[in-house]
Symmetry: C2
Subunit: 296 residues, 2 copies
């Protein structure tokens, strides 16, 4: 299987669905729609949606069926980037080489665009109801899981902790909690919800949830490694920013070699979870392996 072609095909599928969910229709509050659209189509890798579709596939489901769930995850991810970039938060001017939402529009519009995307995620999920006739309970479980992963016990809580940790020394344990909440929870939800909506058994859902937890951590460790070793042109942002901001990272806490070794072990542990799922989980296996060689 050609991972690059697979990712490109899935990205196209997700982008077309997102375009349909958030058309740029002129309405009274067109400015906020433009801002939502701007950030949603600013060149994201669509990792969360792709993982969600691949999890549905891994349990024998139809990836097309999981598209509303996949898109909702990307709407939430995009909202979180917009709000994290705000002056009161991380105060970033650039995101993926382009002006952040509040730089392109203004602060108020960016706050509202984030709010709008978060709200639209749940509307997309609930409005997909007709697609899941007879399986409404599973759809409600998915909404519950995504909301839990995005809220104060997940992503919102993680961003709060990240802000509270600024400028002071954090332990490895604290760093893990921050990442588990800030990025891990939604990545794990992508896999768990994909498996659920794909019709997986409870055992399959559990395997993919566990894969998600390990993948999420490996993703963060390799992200930190990229910041140390990556090149600006490939990353679309300046490397070395974490150090500049005195942000705690795995390489800083563990040392470069130990962090690399740990990423490798996490990926191996993630791969082990996929074994009972056989061939159908091959895309997920390749995506996990790719973490170790990614350049952006």
């Amino acid at each position: 299987m050609d991972l690059k072609a697979y990712l490109a095909e899935r990205r196209g599928l997700v982008n077309r669905a997102l375009e349909a969910y958030l058309p740029q229709v002129r309405g009274p509050a067109f400015r906020v729609v433009q801002a939502m659209h701007y950030s949603l189509f600013a060149g994201g890798k669509r990792l969360r949606p792709i993982l969600c579709l691949a999890a549905a596939e891994a349990v024998g489901g139809d990836p097309n069926e999981a598209l509303p769930v996949a898109c909702a995850l990307e709407l939430i991810h995009t909202y979180s980037l917009i709000h994290d970039d705000l002056p009161a938060m991380d105060d970033d001017d650039l995101r993926r080489g382009q002006p952040t939402c509040h730089k392109q529009f203004d602060e108020a519009t960016a706050i509202l665009a984030g709010d709008g995307l978060l709200t639209e995620a749940f509307r997309t999920l609930a409005a997909a109801s007709s697609r899941y006739e007879g399986r409404e309970a599973a759809l409600l479980e998915v909404i519950d899981l995504i909301a839990a992963a995005a809220g104060y016990e997940g992503m919102v809580g993680g961003q709060m902790l990240d802000l509270l940790a600024e400028g002071r020394k954090v332990t490895l344990r604290e760093l893990e909690t921050i990442h588990r909440l800030k990025t891990g929870a939604l990545l794990t939800a992508a896999l768990r919800c994909g498996a659920l909506i794909g019709g997986g058994t409870r055992a399959q859902v559990a395997l993919l949830t566990s894969y998600g937890e390990k993948f999420g951590l490996a993703f963060q460790v390799t992200d930190d490694l990229l910041d140390v070793e990556g090149e600006a042109a490939e990353m679309g942002k300046a490397p070395g920013m974490d150090e500049k901001r005195q942000k705690a990272t795995y390489p800083a806490l563990l040392g470069l070699e130990a962090a690399k070794e740990w990423a490798k072990r996490l990926v191996e542990a993630a791969l082990a979870e996929l074994e009972p799922l056989g061939e159908k989980a091959e895309p997920l296996a390749q995506i996990a392996r790719y973490l170790l060689v990614r350049r952006s």
Copy 2:
């Protein structure tokens, strides 16, 4: 029926349920939970939840059954107040006589508290699934309606329009669009969703939706009148603020007497919608009549 006692009883019911949905449990990101709690219990009238419960009652439903929906509406209303008060938006230091969330905590925490409350609203709805066994499709319809009312085609869009209208002359038509989106959509959703979850027929749901639209407009007109004629002590905020800010209001556009007359006619139109529902709609009738004499 004693309206004051009725409202106090319902407010108690809603407050106890909200307390259970958002307990102040010490977790890693306790600060954001505290901020969410602070704003949620800053003395709101609980109008949206009370309307929702009363709508369920008006179609013969059990108001207790509608509590998760009622609470979700208040979580969303509270989030919108926190974000609207932010420096980049309306830049308010006081809300109901107390420091706004970003004044009491800080701007980043307030943004996250709003995000957390919005997310929690949908979690509360989805997690109520077991309460509505066999009626999951109705619950999903409620989630869809609430998200539509809160998002860019509703409240978020209304706040965007409100900001865009600042400092320039708006027409009566524009003012109506702003209010229909900014406050009307969620008020209407409260009634429509209460009727839906209360098991109302399509005809009953339509009547209460129409009541909601008229009530929402009357609410805004009387709110503007209060700003002109109210007294600070009773309102918990300074009167005359709209004029100071050069905000368009109904009294400013229509004249004081014409605005009062219009409010009266809107309340009468709202009351007319309730007639086919009989005695069970008496609380909603009294709440609408109360708009004309309210002092806060």
